[in-house]
Every structure is written in C-alpha cells, then in structure tokens.
C-alpha cells in the first residue's frame, strides 16, 4: 500500500513539474513586442455588463494590456480612492463623486469638500448618459405602474440606493420633485436601502420589494419591467464622467483605454443596453 502511494505521489509530482516546464517554455519562445501593462479601473456598478464586454474586446485591440475592474457604488469607490487605493481610471455614475476628486474645484467646498486633487487635469470627459427608471418584479404583484403610484397605499416596500449611491441620490431628487417626503416614507417603513444599484436590482428581481428605482441599463440587463422613466426635470441628466487619476503609473495606457471607450465599437456595446454615448 505504502509503495503504491509513493509511486502515485511521484507520478503526480512529475506531471505537475512537466506542466510548469512546458508553460515556461511556451512563454519564453513568444516574442512580446510591447511590455505587459496592468490597468486598474474603478467603475460604477451599473457598468458591469457593458464594461466587461468592452474589456473582452480590448484584449484583441491591445493584447499586452490586462485590465482589472472593481465595480461598486461610485460613493464606495470614491472613498477607496481618497483612502489611497491604487487606481488608474475612474468612471463614476454622477458628477458628484468626480467633483470630489477634481483639483480644479478645490476652492468649492460644496463640490470638493475634502479639497482633493487626484485627477489628471484635462483627462476628465463625460462618457455616457443613463436614465433613471422605476422597475417592478415579474408579474408586478403590487400593481405599481408609475412614479405617482408611489404616493398611494399600493406601495408597501420600495428599494432605493442609499444617499451615497448615485442612483440613490437621483431617486431622492425624483421623489422630491413628486412631492414625496422621504422622511415620511421612512417613518412608514416603506423604504429599504441597498448599498449599490446591483443590490437594489437584485431585491426587485427576487420579488422581495414591490418596486425599485434603478438605471434603465440595469433594468435591461436584469430583464426587469420598466414602468416609468424619470425626465430631465425630475433628476437632471444622469451623466457618467471618466477621468485618469494622477497617482497612475501608466498614464499613456490609461489614456489609450479611455480613448478606446469612445470608439464606435464600444459605443455599440453601451447603446445595446440603453446607455446614450455623450459625444
């Protein structure tokens, strides 16, 4: 028994070494024209499906660049960047988070409260436009058909992003425009807060809430029914800015990726889920 085990162990070791050896050989014989670059992108959670697709396409366009993305609410990402996280490119779901990092707005304590200067000036661009929508679970059990229905008793529980999440602050704008008092809704126990737009989307998909306010693109990607869309008057335009951070070690590569995001190939990907590309 012991001998058999010893032989099996030796065989396994030999095979794994052979595997390593051949891997080393193949990478050695390939002549790389460009040095390998690693880019770190922080992007709003609502960009998950589209940006993942873009990164796949970018692998063909620039095979030497490996792009790693962290998706979360723009508020969380802002906190992480401000705390010193390594990031080359930041794409936020609202101007608010980008403003808080913009050195050219240093004097404005409203827009840049901590006086941060972390963007490379001149690289900030408005990338995409999205729409804020009211969605309901399959079958619409609570029968909510418009933003106005939120004022009625049809609404038992609604999911919103919290105020740190861009879609959450857009939602509050919409509710204010409709004359709904968030404090009253909270007191009636009608609101549950998610920490990013995907969490809100999941709660609606699961039927755990009667409705939720998310982006049109998230509704599309999750296959949720949109019953109402917010107009410009309700929450202003939902613009996604992008910028390169001045702590980056590969500004050229970051700029190349940012330029790539604005090509026709990527425009098609973004528009397919409902984004509008800002020209």
């Amino acid at each position: 028994m012991k001998r058999t085990m010893a032989w099996i162990l030796a065989l396994v070791l030999a095979l794994s070494l052979a595997g390593c050896g051949s891997a080393a050989q193949t990478s050695g014989t390939k002549t790389e024209e460009k040095p390998a670059v690693e880019l770190t992108v922080f992007a709003a959670a609502s960009m998950q499906e589209t940006l993942n697709r873009v990164i796949e396409l970018y692998k063909q366009a620039a095979p030497n660049v490996t792009v790693t993305v962290t998706y979360d609410s723009s508020g969380t990402l802002l906190k992480q960047i401000a705390a010193g996280a390594d990031c080359d490119l930041f794409i936020s779901a609202a101007q608010k988070q980008m403003n808080a990092l913009d050195g050219s707005l240093k004097g404005d304590t409203d827009k840049n409260p901590d006086g941060l200067d972390l963007l490379v000036q001149g690289t900030r661009v408005n990338l995409l436009e999205n729409k804020v929508t009211l969605v309901v679970p399959d079958g619409n059990p609570a029968g909510i058909n418009s933003f106005d229905d939120l004022k009625t008793d049809k609404l038992k529980l609604m999911a919103l992003g919290n105020s740190d999440v861009p879609v959450g602050s857009y939602s509050l704008d919409v509710l204010k425009y409709l004359g709904l008092d968030i404090a009253q809704l909270e007191a009636a126990g009608k609101v549950t807060y998610g920490s990013n737009v995907k969490e809100v989307t999941t709660q609606v998909s699961q039927g755990a809430v009667d409705c939720g306010i998310i982006y049109a693109t998230d509704a599309f990607s999750a296959g949720l029914k949109v019953v109402d869309t917010a107009t410009k008057e309700m929450c202003k335009q939902v613009i996604y800015p992008a910028a390169i951070l001045n702590t980056t070690k590969q500004q050229e590569a970051a700029q190349a990726f940012l330029d790539y995001l604005r090509t026709d190939e990527c425009t098609a990907v973004f528009e397919a889920v409902g984004f509008t590309v800002v020209k």
């Binding site: 919290n162 807060y193 709660q203 755990a208």
Partner: protein, 227 residues
C-alpha cells in the same frame, strides 16, 4: 437619536436565543444517542453554519425563503406574507448562525453528564421528562448557559446574512450592525461611532453579568456537580 436599531437588535437576539435554546437542547439530546456514523454526519451538517461565511448563509437562506422560491412562494400564497424584508426575517439568519454554538456546547455538557444520576432517577420511578428537565439540565447548567451567552452574542452581532435577508428598512428592519454600515456608507461617522459604543457597552455588560453569575455558581457548587 432614533433608538429603534437597539430595540430591534435586542428583540431579535432574545427571540433567537430562546429558539436556539430549545432547538439546541433537542438536537443535542437526541443526536448523542445515535450511532457513530450518523452522529458524525449530522454533526457536520448542523455545525456548518458556524464556519460558513455569513454571506454564504444569507445566500442559502434566500434560496429557501425568497418570495419566488418554493417555500417563500407557498407562504406568500397561504399566509399573504413575505418571509424576507421583515424584522423577524433576521431571526432566521441569527438562529441559523448561532444554533451550532448552542448545539455544540449542549452536546459537550450532555456527554460529560454522569449517567448514573439519570439511572438513579429511573430507579426512583421518575419519568424521562422529569429526569431531563429537573436532573440533567440543572447539572449541565454551566455548559448550557455558556451556549446561550454565545448564541445571544452571535445573534446580536450578526450582519451579513441579516443584511441579505432583511435588508435595511429604517424603523422596521434596521439592526445595530446594519445601521452602523449604512451610517458609515453615508459619511455619518459621528452617529456610527455612537452606535459602535452602544454595541460595545451592551456586549460588555452582558458578558460581565454572565461572568458574575458563573462565579457565584462556582462558589455555591464547590466540590462537585451536585445541583
């Protein structure tokens, strides 16, 4: 300051501990008598929530209780109520994660129980129920109390599974742990600190009380496991 999260957390932990007390004792008592293989397998299954990350536990609970899942949908149809997004949804989460603590400590206490005491009770013609509640439990009091303390503390501090199953509805499902997270996320660090201190204070007071009770117990029972 809105004290609802404190009231809600304590309420959830109390109900959860009561449930876990009965469940833990039940399983500990009956599983100790099973054949070794079956006992081992059940042991693993029942202790699993202790070592699984709370988010895994939360995900599994949602698979069971979500309004579109078989059980959740049935309850919605028959009772007209969702099992998730209510204040008592958190109790499913806390019971699941604190049950292993009660179960293991009770099992340990029962297995070190001197069986001759139970035998003596039987020769006196006492019923099994009497023996369990009036002889076995008092003798195993220390272990069971320890199990309850751990369960209460775990239930009070539960976050991941609670957040997934009950969400964060201010004034309805908010607990201390989910409130601190939301306050941190919305940059209200001063309020978050207040809740952090409240939680530390409660937990400290609770543990101190238990320590006092235990030391008083030890003094009374000096020299043996006599009830």
């Amino acid at each position: 300051m809105d004290w609802y999260p404190l009231y809600n957390s304590l309420r959830i932990a109390a109900v959860s501990t009561a449930a876990v007390f009965f469940l833990g004792l039940f399983f500990a008592y009956y599983i100790a008598r099973l054949p070794r293989l079956l006992k081992g397998v059940l042991d693993v299954i029942l202790t699993l929530p202790l070592v699984l990350p709370p988010t895994v536990v939360g995900w599994l609970l949602l698979c069971l209780l979500g309004p579109k899942q078989p059980l959740g949908a049935w309850v919605l149809n028959v009772f007209g109520t969702k099992l998730v997004m209510t204040w008592w949804s958190a109790i499913f989460a806390t019971v699941t994660v604190s049950f292993p603590l009660m179960y293991r400590t009770a099992r340990g206490a029962f297995e070190s129980f001197d069986p001759s005491l139970a035998a003596a009770g039987q020769t006196l013609g006492l019923s099994n129920t009497y023996i369990f509640w009036r002889i076995r439990l008092p003798v195993c009091r220390q272990g069971i109390l320890a199990g309850m303390v751990l369960s209460f503390a775990r239930a009070l501090g539960e976050y991941g599974a609670t957040s997934m199953v009950a969400g964060y509805t201010p004034g309805k499902t908010a607990t201390i742990s989910t409130t601190v997270y939301q306050l941190w996320r919305t940059n209200e660090d001063a309020m978050a600190l207040r809740w952090v201190l409240v939680n530390i204070a409660i937990s400290a007071v609770f543990l101190l009380t238990i320590n006092l009770l235990e030391s008083r117990d030890k003094q009374k029972n000096r020299g043996g496991s006599r009830p």
